[in-house]
Symmetry: C2
Subunit: 164 residues, 2 copies
């Protein structure tokens, strides 16, 4: 049970657990609720949904798994901060993009070997990676799982009475 | 580079990265700021600091690494929700407990082998663990890293102008 495959699976499972928890929460919120600010002066739920979608979408090329599916989201939800004057896609469309992106990732994840997870990601050169082998795809997954958890904690504020 | 030790280290590093980021943020907040609510009607910063401290403290027995250091925090910050009527330890004391707990964990973590990380945690019986070997100490670490990230995202709201 100390096999590399077993340990890698624990990490991938942790991603899926965090994603499942976030999805359960998103499903409990109406589209109208997602249009509200998380807290006074803070991002709206719709912005965080778009932000998470584009960050996950960009994992496809970062992990050498394919092209981004929704390149237009980068500018709206990553380059720029939330701005109620900006025209965003409808929440129902964003929900669809979110699931499409995570589904595309999940389908690739099940086929990946430990060796592939420990391959470099696309934002580091072969040369630098030779010196810093921890900058691999599995580290990206760990980082993005934590990123998703950050915003999950914030999105909880859209739920009345949820204190944690 | 597909050694179990290397992969386990990536997971432990991810804990340390999340902890370092949270500590940088906590250091940037004054004790007075931590007495504020994260958002209207939500937990105060001091509650989240105490909550994180007791959850990390309880990792010591959960991972078979020793006894909890501050058993009195469990009741204040885990069993009960935040309540401004309750007398909490001073923020400066809580900061000390927080660092003591994480330091105790960190000292144990550096000595742990992959085999030890994949051992059962103390909340599962030998029998159940034989059937569910993924319920090990490394899974606890992954879970608690995500838990810390949840609350990090929320604590960011105490910083003026921080949108993410």
């Amino acid at each position: 049970m100390t096999s590399p495959t077993f340990i890698t699976k624990l990490v991938v499972d942790s991603w899926h657990i965090a994603l499942h928890r976030l999805n359960q929460h998103l499903d409990s919120l109406t589209n109208d609720q997602l249009m509200l600010r998380i807290a006074p002066g803070r991002n709206r739920g719709v912005y965080l949904l778009g932000h998470l979608t584009t960050v996950h979408d960009k994992m496809l090329p970062l992990l050498f798994l394919g092209d981004v599916l929704y390149p237009e989201l980068n500018d709206l939800f990553l380059t720029h901060a939330d701005n109620p004057e900006t025209l965003f896609p409808a929440v129902s469309d964003l929900r669809g993009y979110w699931h499409a992106v995570n589904s595309a990732l999940g389908k690739k994840f099940v086929t990946m070997t430990t060796e592939e997870w420990l391959h470099r990601h696309s934002a580091i050169s072969e040369e630098d990676f030779a010196k810093e082998p921890h900058r691999n795809r599995l580290s990206v997954l760990l980082n993005r799982t934590n990123h998703m958890s950050n915003h999950y904690g914030q999105l909880l504020f859209l739920k009345k009475g949820a204190l944690e």
